[in-house]
Symmetry: C2
Subunit: 243 residues, 2 copies
């Protein structure tokens, strides 16, 4: 691999040990897989008990953000520098081979490791609450009702600098050693797609779907829409906040 | 709730504290959400560092199974009764509201808690390796090349009795307090669907897709196919093993 490619450092925590041919550590691969997702699973430990909580998240540079209620257990236990692992998985197929052992799945996943910290600086928090919406829906915050102080207070935002990360990719379908046996084998693709938008039944008369949501079209792959939205959100001014 | 409904016990670990109206503990709800998934995320702890690893899994009664290489870190650290949390999440929509605070997502998730143990009994392991395939693809193992001793040895199977579990469901789309504002709001549905099967390019002449795979049809929801396959796998003889 070319030395000038920015990569996450690799050590015993994030090295892909098994099937190391499936492992990637460069920013481009890791970030692309993160930006193609809205949902992640965050692991953290409370009193030696691991928890695995699904949540929406987004990436900004080499930092990840997620949020929740200020009262939530997850966020209370992720506010003071606790170690966490945030994982994103795109399932691409189920693989049916000619023996049990070679059954598999195609997937693309990222495990990102770091320490979670509450975003406490008011300006940083305000900006994060904007990007929490605008990262997914381009420029949307500018058209929303302003957040109240109470809403901002009730929302906790957690961030994590990615200290280590690894991507793991399997994308090869059926790999067998029994091609001379009369057994059916296939790759069965799966994908996450967008359905038909369901406008709020209580929309005011004359309010139309903004064209900025056009990338969220029926039957599109969710990950394409999310990746596009991420590019649009971060190609411009990174410092804007609510009007 | 009716007392005679079988439920998982509830305590500080699995009680849904925030938004407790979204929490369910009964076997029927928890199991249905598990059986509708092939992919889970398993959290475990090694030297105080949490890990969140995606893997395929399946349920049998109140026990969960997953597998991997005998050499994998995850399985080496889940073989001796370590506490784990296995989480399944179905993302159903993104919710665009009239203010940032009410943006949300519809989802159905399960967090299952227990202690992971290596399946070491040879008969139990052999049977688990059959169900690892047959749970997804009805009766498929009977038509496969038999597993070799080496393959069985190279595969580690882990099981976890579900000691505690909670399901959390949000299924209400847009809920706002600003219906009198001229702002567009919608529920944007997402779903995981099956693509067109890709037969192995090296199939022997005359080998056809078995009709038992008919539930995995193009554009079907993956979760429907998985739920159906689970019913078929476990309505019959639970004790069969490889022929």
């Amino acid at each position: 691999m070319d030395d000038i490619i920015a990569s996450y450092p690799v050590d015993g925590i994030n090295r892909v040990k098994r099937r190391h041919d499936r492992g990637f550590y460069d920013h481009a691969t890791v970030h692309a897989l993160l930006d193609a997702a809205a949902l992640c699973h965050v692991s953290y430990v409370v009193d030696r008990q691991p928890y695995c909580t699904p949540t929406l998240f987004w990436r900004e540079g080499t930092r990840l953000f997620w949020h929740g209620s200020s009262a939530s257990r997850m966020l209370r236990n992720q506010s003071g520098g606790q170690p966490v692992c945030l994982t994103v998985t795109h399932l691409d197929s189920l693989v049916l081979a000619r023996c049990g052992f070679n059954h598999s799945a195609d997937y693309r996943s990222v495990m990102a490791f770091g320490h979670a910290r509450l975003v406490e600086d008011p300006e940083e928090k305000r900006r994060a609450l904007v990007m929490m919406v605008d990262r997914f829906f381009t420029g949307r915050t500018a058209h929303l009702r302003l957040s109240t102080e109470q809403e901002i207070k009730a929302t906790a935002v957690v961030s994590m600098d990615i200290e280590r990360a690894s991507a793991k990719i399997r994308a090869k379908g059926v790999v067998d050693e029994d091609y001379d046996l009369p057994i059916y084998a296939e790759r069965l693709p799966v994908r996450m797609v967008l359905g038909k938008p369901e406008p709020c039944p209580r929309l005011m008369a004359g309010v139309e779907r903004p064209t900025s949501l056009n990338n969220y079209g029926v039957d599109r792959a969710l990950e394409k829409a999310l990746s596009e939205a991420h590019v649009l959100a971060y190609r411009g001014d990174l410092t804007r906040s609510e009007p």
